[in-house]
Subunit: 215 residues, 2 copies
C-alpha cells in the first residue's frame, strides 16, 4: 500500500521503517523535500522508501500517519493540504506535549478539547483515527517488546476507518487488546494519559512500558 | 487510631467502614452533624464510629481522608478548618470531576494545576498526600478484588507523610505496587487519569478495573 509518514522524528522513522519491512511503499514528508533525517531514513529503508514535502507525501499515501510533534501538527497538516488528505484515513499518533516550560511537559490542549479533535475539525473530509499515542514508538510497531498483556486505545468518528485501523494495529503491528473508546472526542482521554506517562518515564528511566486495564 | 473521614458519599462510607473493621476510631464529618447518610453509616458501623461536622471530624482525626466530591472539596476543607488540620496528614482521594455538562465529566482543574495542589496551597500546614483517586472505592480498600498485579500512585510534598501513607496503603488496604511520583504537582497526572477511567467505566459497564504499568 502507498503510505504517507508525516514527520521525520523518531516516531516517523520507526513507523516508516516498520512499514517498509512489511513491503509497503512509504513516502516520508516534511517541510523540505531534502530534509536530512528523511534522506538518512530513505538511505537505510531502500527502494520502497521515498521522500518529499508534506504535500508530496499526503498525495502519495492512501493512508497517512501523523508523526509530527503535536504542537506543530496543525501547521504541518495545513502544509500537507486538505485536498491531498481528502477522503483518506489519517492515523494521528501525536500528542500535544509542550516542553516550553521544561519537564514534565504540559498539554497545549486538553480536558475540553484535544489535538485529535482540532485536526478532525480542521480537516472534516479526512477520517482522523487517534491511536498509538499512549506508548513509545518502538512499542507502537512491536508491542511484543513488552511481555504479557497491555493495551491500545483507538477513537475516531468514522466506524469503517476504525475497523481498518484496528486491522492495521493487529496484523501489521501485532496489537492484541484494543479498546475502541468511541468518537474523536475521546482523544481527550488518551492524550491526557501522557502526563502520567511522562512522569513514569522519568521515574522508571525507561520508555519501555505500557498501560494495561486489569479487570 | 483516631481518623477523620470527610464526606458521606460512597467513598467516605466505604473507607470509613474498612477503617472500623480494622479497629480504628472513625468520625465521619459533613456539613451537618446530623447528616442522614453519616447517621446510617454510624448505625451500621457501631461503637467505634461517630458523626460530626467537618470541623468536629478534623479535630478528632490524627489523620484525615478527603472523600468529598472534588468540586466541593475546598469548601468542605475550609469548613473543616485549617487549625483543625494543622500538622496532620490529609489523604486526598478526590478528583475534580465536573458532571455539569453530562457524561463523561471534564476536570474542573487540570494540566497546569490540580485539586491536590489547590488543597496543599490553601492548607500549607497540612501534609496533603494524593492517592487512591485512580480507582473505585471498593478497590481502594480491597485491591485484591481484582486479580493479578495492578497499581496505585502516590504523591505529596512531605516525604515522611508519604512513607506513613504508603504503609497505610500496604498494611491496612493491601496495596502491593505503589509508585511514588514525587511532589504534589504530580497530582495533575493522576487526576488526569480520570478522563480515561470514566470512559472505560462507560465502555466496560463495570468500575471493577484498575491500571497496571506493564514493563
Amino acid at each position: 500500500m502507498n503510505i504517507a509518514i508525516l514527520g521525520t522524528g523518531i516516531v516517523g522513522t520507526t513507523i516508516g521503517m516498520k512499514l517498509i519491512d512489511i513491503e509497503h511503499n512509504v513516502m516520508m514528508g516534511s517541510r523540505s523535500a531534502s530534509n536530512e533525517k528523511a534522506m538518512a531514513w530513505k538511505a537505510k529503508a531502500g527502494s520502497n522508501a521515498s521522500v518529499g514535502t508534506f504535500a508530496d507525501a499526503a498525495r502519495h499515501g492512501e493512508i497517512a500517519f501523523n508523526c509530527t510533534l503535536g504542537v506543530a501538527s496543525l501547521e504541518a497538516l495545513r502544509s500537507a493540504g486538505a485536498e491531498n488528505l481528502k477522503g483518506k484515513i489519517l492515523i494521528d499518533v501525536s500528542d500535544p506535549l509542550d516542553f516550553s516550560k521544561g519537564f514534565p511537559p504540559f498539554l497545549s490542549v486538553s480536558n475540553t478539547d484535544s489535538l485529535g479533535e482540532q485536526i478532525q475539525r480542521e480537516f472534516p473530509d479526512t477520517k482522523v483515527v487517534k491511536t498509538l499515542n499512549t506508548t513509545n514508538t518502538y512499542i507502537m510497531v512491536n508491542p511484543s517488546l513488552i511481555p504479557g498483556e497491555h493495551d491500545m486505545f483507538i477513537c475516531g468518528n468514522d466506524a469503517e476507518a476504525k475497523v481498518k485501523v484496528e486491522d492495521i494495529l493487529r496484523t501489521w503491528f501485532g496489537w492484541k487488546i484494543i479498546y475502541d473508546l468511541g468518537d474523536i472526542t475521546n482523544a481527550r482521554a488518551t492524550e491526557m494519559l501522557l502526563p502520567i506517562w511522562v512522569r513514569l518515564y522519568g521515574k522508571l528511566s525507561t520508555a519501555n512500558f505500557n498501560f494495561h486495564v486489569v479487570k
